[in-house]
């Protein structure tokens, strides 16, 4: 199992969260809203491609709509392996946080 990078993790989470509405523009918008930072387009699309290549995401072509100049959207869905990878990275985080003990958690809180 690969260890996801932060951007990959965020994109994967965003796709999971958006369910049927997960396509490029919506994913970016969600990540920007949640992090409060402006994410460049490339910072979304490059991890998306990579995740598809690794098999963590599956993509399919949506029906063309007039709003988008007659272009269809490409929707993404998290695969079982994708969920596994998310769980894996979460476990790693938790394990490391736990090993730091109570003090570290308190300091962070303040």
């Amino acid at each position: 199992m690969r260890i996801l990078s932060r951007s990959e993790e965020l994109v994967l989470l965003a796709v999971w969260r958006l369910h049927d509405e997960a396509y490029g523009v919506a994913i970016r918008k969600l990540i920007i809203e949640q992090t409060g930072k402006d994410w460049s387009i490339g910072a979304i699309y490059v991890p998306l491609d990579r995740l598809v290549r690794w098999g963590y995401l599956r993509d399919h072509q949506g029906e063309p709509t007039a709003e988008r100049g007659g272009r269809g959207k490409r929707f993404y869905r998290v695969t079982k392996q994708g969920l596994g990878a998310l769980r894996h990275i979460k476990e790693i985080h938790e394990t490391i946080w736990a090993s730091l003990g109570e003090g570290a958690a308190l300091e962070k809180r303040s």
């Binding site: 919506a26 063309p64 709003e67 490409r74």
Partner: protein, 870 residues
């Protein structure tokens, strides 16, 4: 999330109502779509449109547009990388396919590449040949500023010469003239160096400015002063080496014609072949200036104008100079003009000059035929390739199924033909190397035809090769890329049949061009034969021309008489002029009539036996005879008598150069000049001096070698140490037409090659068509057709193509040859109809032979085999 979406939706609606555009810049979007379509990211333009609209909400349109463009520009490096990656991948795939196909169809590949190579090598040959003439005289520094001072005489003939004393006043009257020099020519001259005798051609006289006008590398001596003052001579390097070997020639004294001693003051590099001005010896004009201080003596005069000088202004000043300084005389020109030096070799035939004149028509001919040949070869390439690509229909179908665009297929097949052109190019350079010596020998030229030292020309030839490949491959490429995968795999033959029609057109075009070339070469050949057979009014066979290199030696008369006494000599006469060379015009008038009634004729000083030796036809009266002891006799041609309006010419007194002469005979017209010129009225007058040549009529040609020895021995006893040379009159005549005759030979070779390649194209077409008709032939056979019947049917189909080609080619060739002969020759014969018949017969016959062979092969095959096929 949903909320924000609908909010954006709302603003968009609002904007739509306000009539604001909500699509990104059209051009940018198009670009984006074009680039992305191929890469499987079709969804991106849609996403970008949403990003764009988002930006419209927060900022103004200009910024959004700029952002959109910026995004597009940022993709360029990636795009280029992507293109390069795929191009290289596909390139190797194409390359592999191409090489496999080329290797599989060896005969076609060979014929195609060889054809292109031959066409190209001949094209290169033509280019270099023309380039040589274009480079003529251009190597001098400031050659564009050099002019030949030319004059128009009162007969309004133009001459590239001027009165000699003008040289003294030119520079002072016309300040724009930087340098001016006489360039006086003489024939062969005898020079004695340290007791050794040399006969030198190209002996010239010039002023010291000469070496400033015509740049030449000085090897020894002071360039500024080497021609200042009398009795100085500058040698060309080859002469210096011949006379002195490796000794230093400067300061040496040589004896010139036994009349004066000359001091060698300089040595210069020899001028290259493409130079009009040449010399072996350049003697300072100061040596003889006083002898030529006469306004009636003419010589070529070269001037170099100052850098920005206006030619028109100079000519105006020359007109003033003509009025004020040139004394009145019969010979006084009516006008001076400047003839550009670099154009001298292209001058019209009416402008007489010493320079070799090239026939631009000759070069046009060669270039035209070379281009035609290249076109024939390209057509051949196209028709063969079209046939060849049929076997690759399935490859095309498969590529299309796998998603190849038509453009990709076109570039693949174009690439293949360019590949062949690239193979053909070095091959053509190699062939060119082999061809050059043959070409030079054929044309009788000694010129530099190396191409490797001319990068620009080499590049141009390379460009031609690639262009030829592209042109030749364009039809097959478009043809083959149009195959529909569905029909190809179904085995539908309709698209193939369409190809057959087009290939028929190509074959017809190719044959038409070939037939035009063939007719052209025959017409050209016939025209030059006609020139060679022109009735000159004199018999040039078995006449020897002895060149004794000496003016007015009284010993020549004794010599002539001794030669007449030799066994086997039918007659001999001395002459001043060489036939078919220069002529000398003079005015004649009837004694007692005014100068206005004078008629201009060609005048030739003659010796007693002249009329008989050259077998000129006497119409009335007699030739010269020694019996009458008269020194003032002359004979005139019939046209001269007509122009003089002489009713009863015999015994009439005629004034020639202020000397009265008695007409003793009327001659049939004769041609003593270049046959390109019209026959002129002429007068032969008895003279006893100024002879340089002797015509010797021999009784039989096999006596000539022996006679040469005897005549040489006689001359040695009469004039010890003087050289003597022999020519045949016939050879001199043929020499004048060398270019024409050689051009004809060349044309013949070109049309032969063209026929060869047309036939190869036909064979290619025939073999493929017959292959396609295997089943038809088998069925015909089963139904009872004989082998001969089948062969006849197939052959006739192809002969119909050749017949159509003839029908197209004949009128074209007829108009072209008629225009051409009218343009190029004074004396011409019509375009005979038999020429067309010959061309037709040759084309039909050779095509029949080529097809019958293939048709027979197909017809004798067992029908079972053909039908079992598939």
């Amino acid at each position: 999330m949903r909320r924000s979406n609908s909010k954006a939706e709302g603003t968009r609606e609002k904007r739509k109502r306000r009539g604001i555009r909500r699509t990104p810049p059209v051009a940018a979007r198009r670009l984006l779509e074009t680039f992305l379509d191929r890469t499987g990211r079709e969804h991106l333009p849609g996403d970008f449109e949403e990003f764009y609209n988002e930006r419209l909400v927060t900022g103004n349109r200009l910024r959004a547009d700029l952002w959109y463009w910026g995004q597009l520009l940022r993709t360029i490096p990636w795009l280029i990388g992507n293109i390069i990656y795929w191009r290289t991948t596909m390139f190797w795939n194409y390359m592999k396919t191409a090489l496999r196909n080329l290797a599989r169809q060896k005969i076609f590949t060979t014929v195609n590449i060889l054809g292109l190579a031959v066409g190209l090598s001949i094209f290169i040959l033509a280019m270099l040949y023309v380039n040589f003439y274009l480079s003529y005289d251009k190597f001098h520094e400031d050659s564009g500023r050099i002019y030949c001072l030319s004059s128009i005489d009162r007969e309004s003939s133009e001459h590239t010469n001027a009165p000699m004393p003008i040289i003294a006043v030119l520079k002072e009257e016309v300040p724009e003239i930087e340098n001016a020099s006489i360039f006086l020519q003489t024939g062969k001259r005898n020079v004695t160096v340290d007791g050794k005798h040399f006969t030198e051609e190209e002996v010239r006289y010039a002023d010291s400015d000469f070496l400033k006008i015509f740049s030449s590398k000085t090897i020894a001596g002071e360039k500024e002063t080497m021609l200042d003052g009398p009795n100085k001579v500058v040698l060309s390097r080859s002469t210096a080496v011949k006379w002195f070997g490796d000794q230093n020639p400067i300061g040496k004294t040589v004896n010139y014609e036994s009349i004066r001693d000359l001091v060698v003051t300089g040595v210069t590099e020899d001028y290259p072949v493409n130079s009009s001005v040449k010399y072996k010896l350049l003697i300072s004009f100061d040596t003889i200036r006083n002898d030529y201080d006469n306004w009636e003596y003419y010589s070529p005069v070269f001037i170099r104008l100052a850098p920005n000088a206006d030619r028109g202004a100079v000519e105006t000043k020359l007109a003033v100079l003509l009025e004020s300084r040139v004394p009145e005389s019969d010979e006084k020109p009516v006008r001076f003009f400047l003839y550009p030096f670099t154009k001298l070799i292209y001058r019209p035939a009416s402008l007489s000059s010493f320079c070799t004149r090239t026939e631009p028509i000759q070069q046009m001919m060669i270039v035209l035929t070379a281009i035609l040949l290249l076109v024939v070869v390209c057509l051949n390439f196209a028709s063969l390739s079209t046939a060849r690509y049929l076997t690759r229909a399935k490859e095309v179908g498969l590529r299309k199924v796998l998603g190849a665009h038509r453009g990709q297929l076109v570039s693949q097949f174009l690439g293949e033909s360019v590949l062949m052109a690239l193979v053909a190019f070095p091959l053509s350079l190699f062939m060119y190397r082999l061809l050059v010596p043959m070409f030079l020998q054929l044309m009788g030229l000694k010129i530099d035809m190396g191409i490797m030292n001319k990068p620009l020309l080499l590049l141009a030839c390379f460009g031609t090769a690639v262009t030829a490949g592209l042109l030749a491959g364009s039809y097959p490429a478009f043809f083959v890329s149009a195959f529909q995968p569905a029909t190809v795999f179904k085995g539908d033959l309709r698209s193939f049949l369409k190809g057959t029609r087009m290939r028929k057109i190509l074959i017809v075009a190719q044959f038409s061009l070939t037939i035009v070339l063939m007719i052209f070469s025959m017409v050209f050949g016939r025209q030059s034969n006609h020139l060679l057979k022109t009735n000159l009014g004199l018999d040039r066979s078995d006449v020897m021309v002895v060149n004794v290199h000496a003016y007015g030696m009284s010993k020549l008369e004794i010599f002539r008489d001794e030669v007449i006494g030799l066994p086997g000599v039918a007659g001999a006469a001395n002459s001043t002029y060489l036939p078919f060379d220069l002529s000398n015009a003079a005015d004649i008038r009837i004694e007692g009539r005014s100068a206005e009634s004078a008629v201009r004729v060609n005048s030739y000083p003659a010796d007693y036996g002249m009329v008989e030796t050259l077998d000129m036809k006497v119409l009335q009266g007699r030739g010269f005879s020694r019996e009458f002891q008269a020194k003032d006799e002359c004979v005139i041609t019939r046209s001269a008598a007509v122009s003089l309006k002489l009713e009863d010419p015999i015994g009439q007194r005629i004034i020639l150069r202020e000397q009265p002469h008695t007409v003793v005979g009327i001659l049939e017209e004769f041609h003593f000049e270049h046959v390109f010129y019209k026959m002129q009225p002429a007068i032969l007058s008895l003279e006893d001096s100024s002879f340089v040549y002797m015509f010797v009529e021999v009784e039989s040609a096999d006596r000539i070698p022996e006679l040469k020895k005897q005549i040489t021995a006689k001359w040695a006893s009469i004039a010890p140490g003087m050289t003597i040379e022999f020519d045949m009159l016939e050879d001199l005549f043929v020499e004048r037409f060398r270019d024409t005759v050689k051009g004809q030979d060349l044309l013949r070779v070109f049309s032969g090659i063209s026929v060869l390649f047309s036939l190869l194209g036909l064979i290619g077409l025939a073999s493929y068509t017959i292959e396609r008709q295997r089943k038809e032939i088998a069925v015909r056979k089963i139904l009872g057709a004989s082998v001969n019947g089948i062969v006849r049917t197939i052959t006739l189909r192809f002969l119909a193509l050749v017949a159509i080609s003839n029908a197209i080619a004949w009128p074209v060739a007829w108009y072209a040859s008629r225009w051409f002969t009218n343009f190029a020759w004074v004396s011409r014969i019509g375009v005979g109809f038999d020429v067309f018949l010959y061309a037709g017969l040759v084309s039909v016959f050779s095509a029949a032979v080529a097809v019958i062979f293939q048709a027979r092969k197909a017809a004798v095959k067992n029908p079972v085999e053909s039908l079992r096929y598939e």
